[in-house]
Amino acid sequence: MSNFEDVKLIGKVLVLGDKRSFDQLVLRHQSPVRRFLLHLTNGDEALADDLAQETFIKAYIHLHNFKGISKFSTWLFRISYNLFYDYQRSRKDQLNEDLEVAGATIEIESDNTKELANDLELALSTLKAEERAIMLLFYMEELSVDTISGVMQLPVNTVKSHLHRSRNKMKTFLTTNGYE
């Protein structure tokens, strides 16, 4: 996905007030943002889509704050993670039951989760939300540790240690579930 094309579209939105260009930006970036949030929310499609919508609305309102130092996609990941974090904090008690560490014996209840019930979802369920986000950004979205540190506003060493710990947790889970 060309960063130059993103910058061109952002320029059109900011200078000409061209909303169609923002539509183009949404079309270009909706998939990775929604995918990230979908895995982060353990397969809750409705919640992931709501958060993704909020992400793009917030991006539109604060587009003038985008300095272009990082990629637009990185900026979107940062907004979406912050929104997820705020949501999680506001519904901490409920989410503690739904999203926090459930161990390898996690039980899948909702229809959405059933659809996405696969090895990856189960392995991710063994991680805390923060660890899950780091693993998704590193292995699925293929961001560097430095970029993840910017997205999650954590020191690089903290990201590295989270990555190491999460990797070990996943390895343990996968080994006990038939992976070599």
């Binding site: 007030g17 909303k19 923002f22 539509d23 949404v26 079309l27 909706q30 998939s31 929604r34 995918r35 979908l38 889509d49 993704a52 919508q53 793009f56 609305i57 539109y60 309102i61 696969n118 090895d119 990856l120 979802e121 392995a123 693993m135 998704l136 292995y139 699925m140 990797r167 996943m170 390895k171 996968l174 992976y179 070599e180």
Partner: protein, 116 residues
């Protein structure tokens, strides 16, 4: 990246899928539209228009319109060289200001709508 890391990465990549738009971008566009023009702005616009129309009605603007057109220069002279009566002030200053304000708000409103 060692072998186990590679396996983990493979697992992530295996389940990496592109999500089809399926109307998502349209929903975002709709929400942005209502977010950019929030309810309070509609209330202010409608309130200003209503206040302007009521004020004009009570000031008898429409009755004063022919007089306003024909004796404009004379009244400008009066305003400059003597203290004008309240009625003249109403017709020549307050009414145009209100009208201008209403049209400005309307222009702003339609301009925002036009962009979508």
């Amino acid at each position: 990246m060692n072998n186990q890391d590679f396996e983990i990465k493979e697992l992530f990549q295996k389940y990496k899928r592109e999500i089809a738009d399926n109307g998502f971008s349209e929903k975002v566009a709709e929400n942005i539209r209502f977010d950019v023009i929030p309810l309070w702005s509609y209330i202010i616009i409608a309130g200003s228009m209503l206040a302007g129309i009521i004020t004009l009605w009570f000031l008898g603007f429409w009755q004063a319109l022919p007089h306003y057109i024909t004796s404009f220069t004379q009244e400008v002279h009066n305003i400059i060289y003597q203290i004008p009566p309240q009625a003249i002030l109403n017709c020549y200053i307050i009414c145009p200001v209100l009208l201008f304000g209403v049209f400005l708000l309307l222009f702003w409103y339609f301009d925002r709508i036009r962009q979508w």
